[in-house]
Symmetry: C2
Subunit: 345 residues, 2 copies
């Protein structure tokens, strides 16, 4: 048994109209401001609304108007536990705030990023009269043609490179990698290695190469790693092993492609007694809170998640939607892992 008080039937617009002595339409006008209403009439309506505790039925509204006043936020439920993604949290809060500011609710859902499933989710959203979809892109490419066919506006977040016909945005990873690598080089570490995905077209990889070239030093070793903590730990172990095998040319610094990965690398170094930054310096990418509380604190290139999230909502809701790829600058946050003195935290 529910055990609660027997809920009185919910008040509808009609009840309000009757109590206020006006027609259904006027209630609607008053509440939505869709037509001018005499001040005294409005007052009576509002009083009736208050007295009855009336709340418009959103399903009816959605049916009639074709909009549920809701945005969906689709996040990947990949190998590393979904929502555990450090970014996800920041994105979600800001998106939710931004959406709310504009009168929309935000519907956050996880999905595997198999193209079929993404498409299925889009269809489901359409059926629910969702107004737009924010997609936190994983590495999986999206079938934009199929998604567009669903007829829902959507925008991809956290995207590295422009893709034809897709509205997207993301941090300028290449520029960030250049800044971070350059900083590492300025510490005089001689050469800087790279830990990250094995993908020559990846902007962070490219930026790393560019920074090394610009400094006139040979690029340090490339160490392939999955962008997860276990992946980083693994890579860390390999780095330590290589170092043991050939101490002479062992690199003194690494640019690690993500905070998550760096946490794993750090872990591996601790396990093997490698001191950071004394033996090997590290700088990573993302600027999540993991970087702050790692030991030592991780120097990291912060992605401007807040701004990106706000822009995403704005663009998604814009009437003149574009298919541009918007690139955001980030900023380097200095901590001890790169060799900088630890400034407080």
């Amino acid at each position: 048994m529910t055990g609660g008080t027997p809920t009185p039937r919910k008040a509808t617009r009609r009840d309000v109209a009757r109590l206020a002595g006006v027609s259904d339409a006027v209630v609607s006008y008053t509440l939505n401001g869709t037509a001018p209403v005499a001040a005294t009439t409005a007052e009576r309506v509002l009083a009736a609304v208050e007295q009855l505790g009336y709340r418009p039925n959103q399903a009816a509204r959605a049916l009639r108007s074709g909009s549920a006043d809701t945005l969906a936020f689709l996040v990947p439920s990949s190998s590393d536990p979904v929502f555990t993604n450090p970014f996800f949290g920041e994105y979600a809060s800001t998106l939710e705030a931004a959406a709310r500011d504009r009168g929309y609710a935000l519907y956050t859902t996880a999905t595997s990023f198999h193209p079929d499933e993404v498409l299925a989710r889009f269809r489901e959203f359409a059926a629910r009269q969702i107004d737009g979809v924010l997609v936190l892109a994983g590495d999986t490419p999206l079938d934009s043609t199929a998604l567009d066919r669903v007829g829902l506006p959507w925008i991809a977040l956290n995207v590295a490179t422009r893709e034809r016909g897709v509205a997207s945005l993301g941090t300028d990873l290449r520029a960030g990698a250049v800044a971070t690598t350059t900083h590492l080089l300025e510490h005089g570490h001689g050469s800087v290695g790279f830990v990250g995905q094995d993908d020559p077209s990846e902007p962070r990889y490219i930026g790393w190469l560019q920074a090394c070239a610009a400094a006139g030093v040979p690029a340090g070793p490339f160490v392939a790693a999955e962008v997860t903590r276990p992946g980083g730990r693994d890579a860390g172990h390999r780095i330590v092993d290589d170092r043991a095998a050939d101490p002479g040319r062992a690199p003194r610094a690494f640019f690690v492609a993500s905070d998550r990965t760096a946490v794993g690398v750090l872990r591996a170094f601790h396990e093997r007694g490698i001191r950071v930054p004394e033996d090997i310096a590290i700088a990573s990418f993302d600027g999540s809170s993991e970087a702050e509380y790692a030991w030592p604190g991780l120097t990291t290139f912060r992605q401007p998640v807040d701004e990106m999230a706000r822009s995403a909502v704005t663009r998604l809701l814009a009437t003149d939607r574009d298919h541009a790829h918007e690139l955001f600058p980030g900023e380097l946050v200095l901590r001890r892992s790169c060799g900088c003195p630890d400034a407080g935290r």
Copy 2:
């Protein structure tokens, strides 16, 4: 400009009916199994659905049936960034899977836990024909009477103690604290201190006291700390300061009430050169992935989030809802921070 192909008007139930040469009702019967339909007719209907790419309009369905086939998951957006809560992620994935298994979508939203706002969100959910609410309780108590009045079934997750009239569940914190503290004592640390909220009625606090009493040792010092990383760091600094002031009776071990807090404590210890577990041993609570990748790995009492999430959905959707408080056992995960040898990870 959206630039896409002009979307053809969405097919409705009526289009399907016409194409299949049946009435609207039969389409409904076929799709929902609400009435017997001849096999050949069903086939024609299904074919029409397929051909038209028909998807029932959920808003209409919700309006008519009073159910949106959707559950809401309300998480606190407190000081520590919302979704960053280590538990949130695990809960969200499992809840979503469990809901989906039963044909419901899950709507995840953050809110401050000011009673007024929670109530407002409940009302909003009701207006959207949401079928039930899963509340990830923060420390804030909920006004169950007010919430019940909204008429939505709901259940509180992550709850420590039974409260009259509230359906809830949570880990047996007290038992976990006993197990964890006892383990610490078995390492022969002499006495064990406690780092956590300043609340004598808190089950982890009580469990800590009980374990000390049972072992016949005086309870070590109590160090108040907010349940956040900064809070833990703060507490850690105080511990180190006290230790410096009176090295003689400095405690050798601490039970820390959450992984988050412990990460902060660890950070403080690192900053001050205190070795864990050699100088001070630590064990914490939650069993999140932060504990695994901390250095040293944190011994922690794992909460069975998955089971709790599944049970929550089951109970929320049960026809005979109860107001019980369901307590789940957890398990101690041993790592190096307590003094155990590090077993692999």
